[in-house]
Amino acid sequence: MDFPIFHLDFMGDRLLIAIIAVLHVLINHGLAVGFIPLVTWIEYLGFKKGGKNAIVNNEWDQLAHRLMTVAFIITTTIGAMTGVGIWFASSLVNPASIGSLIRVFYGAWFVEWTVFVTEVVLILLYYLSWKRSLGSIEAKAKHIKLGAALSIFSWITMSIIVSILGFMMDTGSWVENKTFIAGFTNPIYIPQLAFRTPLAALMAGAIGLFLTKLFTKNGSSFQQDSSKKIALWMLLMLPFTLAGALAYYFKIPELMIGNLPVAVGTMDFQSWYDLLVKFIIGALTTVFLIAGTVYFKPKLKIPTIVYILPVIGMLGFAGIFERIREFIRKPYVIGNYMYSNTLRKEDYPLFKRDGVLAHATYSPVKEVTEENKLVAGEQVFMISCSRCHTTRGINSVVDKFENMYSLKAGEKLNGDLMKNYIKHIENARYFMPPFPGNEAELGALVEYIKHIQEDGTPIDHQATSMR
């Protein structure tokens, strides 16, 4: 890639994006898209229960307001900033891929932005006008409508972003015709959306049930009534989430066919896939048991700590799906167009012919010589490996080789074996992109990795990188 290279050599660049993105998705699904309809519903129930003499039933209205306070504070701080953070982190780590995505999806993102601005204005209005809405029946009815509008806008925001996520996994016909519509209507769009919508609602239910337990008086009849309603919400969303998860689950292998040899859906992937099944069963069973108990046996005393289980289960459930989504994208960052090292597939013949260094603007060396081979090796590492691997940190390239060759402590790596391995890497590990460079660069890279293994430290000459 033709940008100065930003590299975090301890935590790894992937982890930076992962932390920010997963946090954002969990907050977006659990406290916005799924949560706001839930709050609005509870507010509506309080409005209905208001009776003849009052505008609302205070207990219900206060519960809705408290739940919304949590959502408001978290979504407008951590939620909003991690959303921007995804832009910032990916512009640092994968400028070529995020830059390409923006050029394809500028229109979608611009529309998304206008929806998003509306969403923020609505959330400010909805939360900050709560007190005022208690002034009259009309004001309250209007306020509830505001909540419904906000719910719709949050969902639209998500539905646009999901298209872009789907595109990164499977570019569909975009690679051939490079039009916006071809990118937007990629084949995995609908399954993803059908899955994420009830998932968000269920996550919100789990969080809502837990918070309700905290916010209401233990053993009170209001606690039972309100928890029962939220449990009902969860039980209703459960079959849809299960159906969505299964649809997604069966769609994944089909997707892989586009990227990978047919028989590959085994082992490495299978272990993730099995884990996924465990998470589907585990999380949804927990939700079912606890929501079911709360709904059918409202009087049963359950300790608060148990209410955390569905929350953890649902967060893990959503997290593992994000992990799988990332996993099946490999070896690409943009399906069939750009590898996860952010080099374009179509550039490979040129790199094979001239080497990657010859076309790396920021590399201080353009050709491997006997004198510069460590500097060159480092540059090759930065260009072709560093987006996913570190030298000695998380997902270290040295560890990978040591483990693969089952080396004992103190044993040295064998350069010839490594060369042969890297040359065929895409055959041995289908999730790895092929090595882009020429013979000499391969030699320099291997020398560099061996040097790190022996020396323990990356070399000092990091002219345009690792700042």
């Binding site: 701080t77 050029r103 055959n427």
Partner: protein
């Protein structure tokens, strides 16, 4: 040798994808969405500073504590809008100036990404501060220091952005700049920083004037001794003072800019902006010195003319950037075209090259070389066991070998797991036969 290369201006390639919209449309979107974004950033930063100032003053005069609380209420709204409105200019600058913006980001990487946690903390602090007014009534030191920390963060963040927008203007520095602290020394960072702070104070002054002057604002319910007029007069004075200071800092900003982006077009645009500011200054002065009941007479005219000033300044900012980067952009474009030609050529060459002779006439051996040799050798263990060992295990069990290759896994505790290879039935048989032939 390295130094020689380092001293050259890097000319990277652009992304070989078309712009999503005509360039002019993107520029208009960039300039206007940025102005909208920066307006709310100004109100967020200015509002926080005024809250802090007013709350400290409120230690002696309770009325100012109330004023601080009232201003703090507006920060929550303004900061949310500032963030969400920032996305459009971010997208637009990423699209129009892909090479420049991302390069500047990467060169100041750690600071660039720390914008996210820092602003998150500042936002959380503004909420904590706003909602703990009563709870911390008797612990003002703690309460005020929350706002203090938040203001400190808000005052630091603009430096990160200014370093980035400065660095993107100077590709000739990219090879020699070493991180954020070094980039702070670019000639134009601090003048622009003070320009921004003054703008924040000036804009917030106008906002406060409007906010507390609204008919719907229940003034008497909040304040007893402070009057609407006093607050408005203070707010107007702030705007007047900050704008007057801009007449000094503005020329400094202009003169510290490297000459490469200068043009008469730029001078004309900025000059027009200055001209619009003059009547605004006159009306504000008249408001401050005139009768109490007349203070708001020209408010909308002031807001409009200063709005025009800001629009012209924002356009000037873009004109400088466009002029400064035009020659480099031409080089980048030429390099991108040349590079794409080479890509096509290399691809053709590869297609037309005589098909590589398979490593062996034996199809099984050829497959072994391509798909297995990364991990398996004849006599020694590489990643997995050597061929000799495979033969000893499977010599009477060809089907067993076939099944293993079809669906491999992990058998030995001290070896890593073997991945599936995606071979066809024919290929599996060929390679299995080849293996078993090696005795």
């Amino acid at each position: 040798m390295f130094n020689h290369i380092l001293l050259q201006t890097p000319v990277p390639r652009d992304l070989p994808l078309d712009l999503p919209l005509p360039k002019e449309v993107l520029i208009v979107l960039l300039v206007f969405s940025f102005l909208l974004h920066i307006l709310f950033v100004n109100l967020m930063v200015g509002g926080s500073i005024l809250t802090l100032w007013s709350q400290i003053k409120g230690l002696k005069d309770k009325e100012y504590d109330t004023l601080a609380h009232e201003i703090a209420e507006t920060i929550t709204v303004n900061k949310s809008l500032a963030v969400v409105l920032g996305v459009a200019p971010l997208l637009s600058i990423n699209t129009l100036y892909t090479v420049y913006f991302y390069s500047a980001n990467a060169l100041t990487g750690i600071f660039w990404i720390s914008v996210i946690p820092l602003v998150t903390v500042a936002f959380l602090l503004t909420y904590a501060h706003k909602y703990s007014w009563k709870i911390l009534e008797n612990n003002k030191a703690l309460h005020i220091s929350m706002m203090g920390l938040s203001v400190a963060i808000f005052l630091f963040i603009p430096l990160i952005f200014l370093v980035n927008v400065n660095l993107m203007l100077f590709p000739e520095k990219w090879n020699t700049i070493e991180g954020f602290a070094h980039a702070l020394t670019l000639p134009n960072v601090f003048p622009r920083y003070f320009h921004f702070l003054l703008a924040s104070l000036g804009t917030t002054g106008l906002f406060i004037f409007w906010y507390f002057g609204r008919k719907s604002y229940d003034f008497d319910n909040h304040f007893t001794t402070l009057t609407r007029y006093e607050i408005r007069k203070k707010a107007y004075s702030l705007t007047f003072g900050a704008s007057a200071a801009q007449f000094i800092i503005g020329p400094v900003v202009l003169l510290t800019l490297p000459t490469k982006g200068f043009s008469w077009h730029l001078i004309f645009t900025i000059g027009t902006g200055v001209i619009f500011a003059l009547p605004a200054m006159y009306w504000i002065w008249k408001g401050i010195t005139g009768k109490a009941e007349d203070i708001a007479n020209n408010f909308w005219k002031v807001a409009l003319t200063l709005g025009l000033t800001i629009t012209f300044m924002g356009s000037g900012r873009h004109i400088y950037r466009a002029t400064a980067l035009a020659p480099h952009q031409k080089l980048v474009e030429a390099k991108t075209i040349a590079y794409e030609k080479e890509v096509k050529k290399a691809t053709e060459e590869m297609k037309n090259a005589p098909a590589e002779k398979p490593a062996s006439d034996n199809p099984g051996e050829a497959i072994f070389q391509a798909k297995c040799s990364a991990c398996h050798a004849m006599d020694v263990k590489v990643v997995g066991p050597p061929i000799k060992e495979m033969v000893s295990i499977y010599k009477n069990d060809a089907k067993g070998l076939h099944d293993w290759i079809l669906k491999p896994g992990k058998k030995r505790p001290d070896y890593p797991q073997m991945p599936a290879l995606g071979l066809s039935e024919q290929e599996i048989n060929d390679v299995a036969n080849y293996i078993l032939e090696q005795k």
